[in-house]
């Protein structure tokens, strides 16, 4: 059961500053996008996977967290083989894997409150220019991270509800109810944020 994206621990990544970790994702992501070398992508993917799987997360859960993303990457990979060459498909798949593993590792080792503070801080210049309200973006990101596990839980709940009634579970059929449950949650959470006077001070 996935209850929290953050994983308690004291690894090297846990100890790094959240801003540094976000910058790392940005730099690695950009670097991988400007190179087409298969070797570089493969090495990056292997290192990122090694970092992610060395975190104190049980292997099953580590896979479970990324299942939807890995599935999407696989589908994209297959489409790319068909649209592009197998070589190019492999390069882009490895690139995505590297970034996803790295991002997952950073997510698992950074407290939501730290994420929010960093994002809010990093967006101060944009706020000065009147483009965004930094605290709102920080809050939005925090909410996604905080309540994502709840969406997973709804998905599991729907799966069990199907099983209990002896109905074959099809993920696509669960999409409708899942969206509705998520929107209802979103309503309740938005009410709570308003009630607590969190925004707009």
């Amino acid at each position: 059961m996935l209850t929290s994206l953050y994983v308690e621990g004291d690894t090297f990544l846990h100890r790094q500053r959240p801003g540094a970790k976000l910058a790392l994702i940005l730099v690695v992501g950009l670097a991988l996008y400007v190179t087409e070398s298969l070797t570089v992508q493969a090495v990056a993917a292997v290192i990122a996977a090694a970092i992610y799987f060395s975190l104190p997360i049980p292997f099953r859960e580590a896979i479970y967290r990324l299942k939807p993303v890995l599935f999407t990457i696989a589908v994209l990979g297959l489409i790319n083989i068909w649209l592009l060459s197998p070589h190019e498909a492999l390069v882009s798949t490895l690139r995505l894997l590297a970034v996803v593993f790295l991002a997952a590792a950073v997510t698992a080792t950074t407290r939501i409150a730290d994420f929010m503070e960093t994002i809010t801080w990093a967006l101060q210049p944009a706020e000065k220019l009147g483009i965004v309200r930094a605290a709102d973006v920080g809050l939005a990101l925090g909410l996604v991270l905080r309540f994502l596990p709840d969406i997973f839980a709804h998905y599991e709940g729907l799966k069990h509800a199907h099983a209990a009634r002896g109905i074959a579970f099809r993920p696509l059929r669960a999409l409708g109810p899942l969206i509705i449950l998520t929107l209802k949650d979103a309503d309740a959470i938005a009410d709570a944020i308003d009630a607590r006077g969190i925004r707009g001070r």
Binding site: T3, S4, Y6, R111, I112, A113, G142, L143, R146, P149, D185, A188, I189, D191, A192, I193, D194, A195, R196, G197, I198, R199, G200, R201
Partner: protein, 226 residues
Amino acid sequence: MDIRFSDCSVKFKTHVALHPFSLVLSERRIGIIGLNGSGKTTFAKLIDGLVKPTSGTVTVNGLDTVKDAKAVLSVAGFIFQNPAQQLIMPQVMEDIVFGLKAHGLGPAEAEARARAALARFGIEALGPRRVHELSGGELQLAAIASVSATGPDILIFDEPVNQLDLKNRRRVVEAIHALPEHAIVISHDLPLIEDFDRVLVFHEGRIVFDGLPAAAIKHYREIAGC
């Protein structure tokens, strides 16, 4: 406390959730009972400005819930039916601190106030716990601590002891009874409101009884037919 509803009604699209009514609330403990769908939650959210009146006005201590929405929110705190959705940060302490910072407190002051809020309800041990791990009663207490930390005068509870076991129910009931704040409590648990100062009975979007608990409960039983 002075809550005034003047010719107030609430309509969701075509569905009338609350028929026009006028009312003044000032007692320290107010209970709200009634069947499912009778309009209790809508009524409570009206006080906090989370639901806007379709017609009429609502004022809390002289503040209009539409025009002075922000100010009303700092006077009246709301503890939701599902407190898990109310605690925004993954850790109890973090959540309380977060709420206080959002109200303009500095980190050190927020931290101190959060500790005091936990201590006030005897739940210091919950501070470092993750919201996802808490039991229903612990969640409810954490939410009460979190909401009361910002210092509202009025606390509104939507079915606070729903789904709690006997032990947790008692903890929450005792916490509510001990509150120095004014409390407005929606409850299907009738003993909880037995010694309140005033109880409103809702039925099909109308307040059909307004008075002392014993008579209110009798009225409610008649409506429910049991």
